[in-house]
């Protein structure tokens, strides 16, 4: 599957470059001095207990949350000053499907295709539906679909504009075996196409298997960061568990 538009974006060396990122919500810190780098064609697995800041980090990257301090550069664009360009570079699958219950899967994707200004929208929508195996139920309203089906369409929505950085916030939730295999193939296809992936997950084995880099967050701070080649599942697990015990 084609997963990104090759003739877009400047010649950025890195997909993600974050330095000193901090964010507090009304006095409660969510991210503290986070540093992170990710190259093209690489995947990052994000671990941490609930409330560690994984969702906040991802939401900051997709421009839903504004950082308090630090520099954030995505595909060469500054997150604060070039937010609109960043949005055209990123694809997001979050906890919410971002799909309208009373519209069909096809109608939802066509709406987003229009919003993203995708040329030849109808054909791209059909292709996206086929890529996630949703063609069979594309004419049914989202309201009647199962969670797994909704998730597939949500993934199609995220990839519709061929983003260069795909961000997934706990994407396995609600997926059956077929869905999980689809997710794996999507991630690998995205990487093969030269784009990058950031995925937060509670499954350390799966994350480790798919990723080139890992990052463990603990109450907003980086507890562990490195290439998967330089660490192990055990070390990551200890880092995650250790932080939760320290916090409790």
């Amino acid at each position: 599957m084609t997963t990104h538009d090759s003739n877009s974006a400047p010649d950025a060396q890195l997909a993600l470059e974050i330095a000193g990122l901090s964010k507090a919500f009304g006095g409660t810190p969510a991210l503290r001095d986070v540093d992170l780098q990710l190259g093209w064609g690489e995947a990052l697995a994000l671990f941490g207990h609930n409330g560690a800041g994984k969702s906040t980090l991802i939401r900051t990257l997709v421009t839903l949350v504004r950082p308090d301090e630090g520099t954030v550069t995505i595909a060469g664009f500054d997150r604060v000053r070039q937010a609109a360009q960043v949005r055209s570079m990123v694809g997001y699958v979050g906890h919410q499907s971002l799909l309208y219950d009373d519209m069909t899967a096809r109608e939802n994707l066509r709406f987003y295709a229009k919003l993203y200004g995708i040329a030849d929208a109808d054909r791209r929508v059909e292709r996206s539906l086929a890529e996630v195996g949703a063609t069979s139920f594309a004419n049914r309203r989202m309201r009647v679909l199962s969670n797994g089906m909704v998730k597939r369409v949500a993934i199609a929505r995220a990839l519709l504009h061929r983003p260069r950085v795909l961000l997934l916030d706990e994407p396995e939730a609600g997926l059956d075996q077929g869905g999980l295999e689809l997710l794996d193939s999507v991630i690998n296809a995205v990487k093969a196409g030269g784009a990058s992936v950031v995925m937060s997950t509670h499954s350390i084995e799966r994350g480790f298997a798919l990723a080139d880099h890992v990052l463990v967050l603990d109450t907003g701070r980086v507890a562990l960061a490195g290439a998967t080649a330089d660490t192990s599942v055990e070390e990551v697990r200890r880092a995650v568990l250790g932080t939760r015990q320290a916090a409790s």
């Binding site: 507090a24 919500f25 009304g26 006095g27 810190p29």
Partner: protein, 238 residues
Amino acid sequence: MASAAGPRSRAMGLGGRQLLLGVAALVFMIDLVLIFGYAPTASEALGVQVQRIFYFHVPSAIVGMISFGVSAFGSVMYLIKRTRKWDRLAWASAEAGTIIFTVAIATGAIWAKPVWQTWWVWDANGTLTFMLWLVFIGYLITRAYAPTVDRGARWAAVVAIFGAAAVPFVYMAADWWAGLHTERVTGPGASGSLESEMFYTLIFSLVTFGFLFAVLVAERSAQRSIEEQIETLRREVT
């Protein structure tokens, strides 16, 4: 002069605030003397002794409007600069302004009822006073119901700016409406010509309410500044 607020805040230090409070109290006492001793007793038409409430009503209404201007200005600066001091100023001005406007409305009603047989005169000034009071209340309630303090600050700043932008429209519309629908009453809002003793008393009362406003804003800003510093220290420790 020891500054309890600390070097990083820009709120007035304790010494400065105590001085301000002292001056304000002094000015207030002199004002009371002027209002009840120096200002002339009014005519039957204006309510005789009740008329002295004019020296509370008009200055509080004017200072209320000034406080609205300060709050709106602080709001604009906050949205541009994003520094805490501007938000503290806007917020404290809104709180002080709400209190001062309440005084203006209450004294207006107390004066209007026995003299003009109506609780409020809906002329341009009266309508504007009431409307700005409502906007201030909306400002405070918005902050109270916001999910976080930051969003509350931003939303409230927008509310204040919208209120300020609406002022000329409200004034014009209320003026036209009052011209069409109510008899022109030499009500609390009418100026007319003032005898010199009345004029000087009025000006002095205006200064008094100005000091009241300044004291309220200074105290509230300093309090918030200290609260914020405590919060920052607490976060650094955990």
